[in-house]
Amino acid sequence: MSSQLDFEFLIDTFFVALSGVPIALLITVVAMTIALPLGFLLALTRINRLPILSQFSSVYVSFVRGTPVIVQIFIIYNSVPILLEEIFQKYDVGMKVYDVNPIWYAFIVFSLNTTAILIEVFRSAISTVSKGQLEAAMAVGLTTLQAFRRIIIPQTLVVALPNICTATVNLIKATSLGYAMSLHEITLRAQVAANPGYNYVEAYIDIFLVYLIICSLVEFLFKLYEKRLSKYKLVIA
């Protein structure tokens, strides 16, 4: 890339962008905390074809996975408050809908999305663990819950981890869509800084660097964990 980069701006804005990391990570952590168990459970309902739940989860998955997050944000951000406002007025709830911190919307949207992704991740991973493992666990007197926690999930995780990692990294990047809700995360901060001088090239370099750093860190942690979990495994050489 040619032209004069404004290095001073580049460096200053790097830290501006960096200051958006906590909010991005907060959303990521909250969404993951909700989505991991929920995704696993719903994956089971799909595998077991539990009547109502599995239909519900498949409709849910197809919608949430299928439509752009930005559209979901838009719809939720624009219609939920209107609906709530009407309800609040009707029942005289003394709360202002529009005072709700937009981060709550972010939590909801991103949790719903990540859950849908993880359902599929887990569905494929669970199917790689042989049935005998569950049977053996139950035969030594573990409850189903214990069997899953101690035997099935650890083996499932090994297969799922690379894809959970992808999902996490995607989630961190997707939090940038929070700008649509005025969430001051990484991208928005950098763009705001870029506007007065139109330093967009520098801003995007900073955005790039910040995401690269946090995402590779996250990826590194995942790799470590994967190694630890999979030490029992012999893979096709």
Binding site: I70, Y98, M181, Q191, A194, N195, Y198, N199, Y204
Partner: protein, 258 residues
């Protein structure tokens, strides 16, 4: 990119424009570039036989990066002038257009005419896209009035429907430029004409807008200056302004501060 000239000596110029900024510039249903900024550039093109313009529709960010990088030679996006921006782009001598900026308010708040008033009544403002010129205007006001700032929030152009938000009471006011308000609310066939008695537009500033030239396009920028001067003398721009904004802003030119 300078070598892009063809054998005939006519140089191809890529004009980038914001394709979703009606009525300033947009890509219409038939896939043609139009809007005030674009139409002005078309007139400029006619006056410059050595240049041939090609219009590239794109987004704000890409326009800015593309012009910086020389992929596009010039860009129009209702851009305001700031000192810092002159480091990145060539601003020509002559401005391209004028933009009326104002507050969209509920009818009951009609009395608020300035940002000072708005700020002192402690009202909330709809988020403004960070790459939007209006953001800069408010931001500059805030820097100038640190003891009485407007509550400024960056957001997204598409997720914020200013008129709706104000009408719903989700915010007390929003910044808008006159053209869209005119077309949405005041026009008989406007999508929000039903709100014509609910919301008002109070102008607080008229601002010059500029085309942005790539740093190496000084010669082209000079040629532009020549052409646009002529267009202004011929009152061509006044007509376009009426056509796209429904009002000739040149009437208030002497009051324009920047």
């Amino acid at each position: 990119a300078d070598e892009a000239s063809s054998d005939s000596g006519v140089r191809k110029i890529k004009v980038a424009y914001d394709q979703a900024s009606k009525p300033i510039s947009w890509l219409d249903e038939n896939g043609n570039a139009t809007g005030y900024d674009v139409e002005v550039m078309k007139l400029v093109d006619e006056l410059l036989p050595d240049y041939e313009f090609e219009y590239v529709g794109t987004t704000n960010e890409d326009l800015l990066i593309g012009v910086t990088q020389g992929k596009y030679h010039v860009g129009v996006k209702n851009a305001f002038w700031t000192e810092e921006r002159t480091k990145k782009f060539i601003y020509p001598e002559e401005f391209l257009g004028l933009s009326s900026t104002g507050l969209v308010l509920k009818k009951e708040n009609e009395h608020i005419k300035t940002l000072e008033q708005f700020a002192s009544e402690n009202m909330t403002l709809a988020p403004i896209a960070a790459n939007n010129a209006q953001y800069t205007v408010i931001d500059e006001y805030n820097k100038a009035n640190p003891d009485n700032p407007v509550k400024l929030q960056a957001g997204d152009a598409f997720s914020v429907d200013v008129i709706q938000w104000v009408n719903e009471g989700r915010v007390d006011g929003g910044v808008s430029i006159e053209g869209p308000f005119e077309k949405q609310v005041l026009a008989e066939d406007g999508p929000y004409h039903n709100l014509v008695d609910e919301v008002v537009y109070n102008e607080f500033a008229v601002i010059k807008t500029w085309p942005l030239f790539n740093k190496e396009e000084q010669k082209f920028a000079d040629a532009y200056d020549e052409a646009i001067k002529k267009l202004k003398e011929d009152k061509k721009l006044n007509e376009l302004m009426k056509q796209f904004y429904g009002r000739d802003l040149f009437e208030v030119l002497e009051k324009v501060e920047r």
